[in-house]
Amino acid sequence: MEALLESLANIGWITILMVFVGTLFGTVLGALPGLGSIVGISVALPFTFTLPSAAAIALLLGVYAGSIYGGSISSILINTPGTPQSACTAIEGYPMARMGKAREAIGWATMASLLGGCFSCLIFLIFAPQLADWATKFGAMEITALVFLGLSSICLLSAESKIKGIFSGLTGLVLAIVGQDPITGEVRFTYDWYPLMSGITLIPVVVGAFAIAEVLARVDAITRTEELNPVKCGLMKLPSLADIGKRWKQLLKSSFIGTMIGVLPGAGSTAAAFISYGEAKRSSPNRENFGKGEADGIIASEASNNAVTGGALVPAFALGIPGDAVTAIMLATLIFHGVVPGARLMQESPATVYSAFITLTLANILLIPCGMIVMAMFSRLLRIPEQIFLPFIFLICLLGAYSARNNELDLYLALIAGGLGIAFRYFGISVAPMVIGLVLGAPFEYSLRQSFIISEGHFFTSFMEHPIAVFLLALTLLLQVGPWVASLLKKRKIPAEGSGL
């Protein structure tokens, strides 16, 4: 409680201003078709280097929450999801807009995003200290098992093909081995080229693999894009308390699904939106209206995708394991400011963590004014020529990659990562496991080798003596083998039922 009050007192006007700027900017970028959270975060990145750490994180959290919400505006008004996580919103929102209920649809999307985001913040507040407290018991074996759990789940959950997911995660681990050995200090894979001695850092890789690759993907798409004509509407109409009361179960269920999926590394907000929408379609009392403009569908999609934001912060802050690329950049920004995420952060500086929770809550509340501003200027935003906007995005991303270390190598890295990112997209390989592999590569190597050294050649015997490590490994196996066994059982059940007929 003391830490919570301390963090409240620490939030100054710069932090509040940055949350607002970040949320507004994120909403604008999210509303523009094709540009999502990572592009927003990459553009905002250079600004964080000159800000105090709390304001820097506030800016990024604002962009994160705003960009996820912003996608709903373009989904509803032009039937084009600004971000992949808003695809389900378009299914219900656009028919509502065509029926002349665009104001109501955006009102529901805003309210669901706000409540979903705030719900996940509450969960973050309750569970992050517990998780961090548990994590203080971790030694080298436990950290190895934990990082292995994080890596394997992101590899298998975020890719359409398991092989490609594993390949992407291993690519990240390979990138992380360049530079100094974390134990002996010897240099590896630098080919006597001095700039490589400090290794391949996260920021240029993320900027390249996500933001520059996105610019290249837009170049591919621009030649096939038709002119967009938004549905006309006035200011958003927020649902009344009575309306919320009628749909509170849907709101709560979707927020819960989003938060839980957010905690799981790799699943992300798109998966949350689809799972929650599917569940709403199955269980909603208005399920016969789904696909024709049903508010429950918008609630399911928007409450869950915004709830992912708070959920993803729990493992990131409490364990130092990012759930997705956005939280990976946030961790890199924290480290840049001298704050090391993990169990010790919760023990030694809980105010930093709580201030992140408060600013994320604030960002969710600010979605209402930001949504109103973006709605008012939406048709003008669509008129910005993409041919001019894309080189601007590229330049600011490139400079952002450079400004973290003022190292020319980062410019080359960002460009190479951009080329690799577009190739990965083309071949259906998810980039997120590569980024998480790069982040977790060094701690994984350090803890794994430390475990080997401590066990004096009896690694597996020693491993079995650590119950937490065994539990984490069992959880990893369950996550990997569980869905496979479930689908096998389902396949067996279907023919059995069929033979009965």
Binding site: T50, I163, F167, R188, I388, Y402, N406, L411
Partner: protein, 156 residues
């Protein structure tokens, strides 16, 4: 142009080749005389493990691509994307050689033209104002130094 199946196969084999080169390097003389001990203490213990797994996953991806149908087609404007990537590389080379403005201004103009932008005056203004805005923002607003050009006519 080979079909998608063969493109994926070529990509997987390229990755496998890169992995094998790095793996061969890890067994080279450069790391043969480590003074730090044996097993997990050696700096190549973990990289070799990761590289072996990376090669195995690339090989698995290559085998997976062989099982794909040759009829799979993905619409992708490769020519336009390669042109954009080339312009980005050219911009970087110009920026490092002659400075940010010299690289960014022609980049904005050529990039927009290549994507079919036709308003000449607006383009001329944008290709000057965007780099100028970014220069002022980074150098004076944020206090972040932009890359120093290798060739500076003013000797600054």
């Amino acid at each position: 142009m080979p079909g998608y199946k063969y493109q994926e196969l070529i990509f997987s084999l390229l990755m496998l080749g890169a992995g094998l080169v790095l793996l061969a390097h890890s067994y080279s003389d450069t790391y043969a005389h480590s003074l730090t001990g044996e097993g997990a203490l050696t700096p190549m213990f973990y990289p070799r493990l990761v590289l072996w797994l990376w090669c195995a996953s690339s090989l698995a991806m290559a085998i997976h691509s062989l099982r794909l149908s040759p009829k799979i087609h993905k619409s992708f404007n490769a020519k336009q994307v390669c042109l954009a990537l080339g312009m980005m590389t050219g911009m970087l080379a110009l920026m490092l050689a002659f400075g940010f403005m010299a690289g960014a201004a022609p980049f904005v103009a050529t990039f927009a033209i290549s994507l079919g932008y036709k308003h000449k005056w607006r383009l001329a203004i944008a290709s000057l104002l965007i780099p100028l805005f970014l220069y002022i923002l980074f150098e004076h607003g944020l206090g972040i130094m932009l890359p120093t050009p290798r060739w500076d006519p003013f000797g600054a």
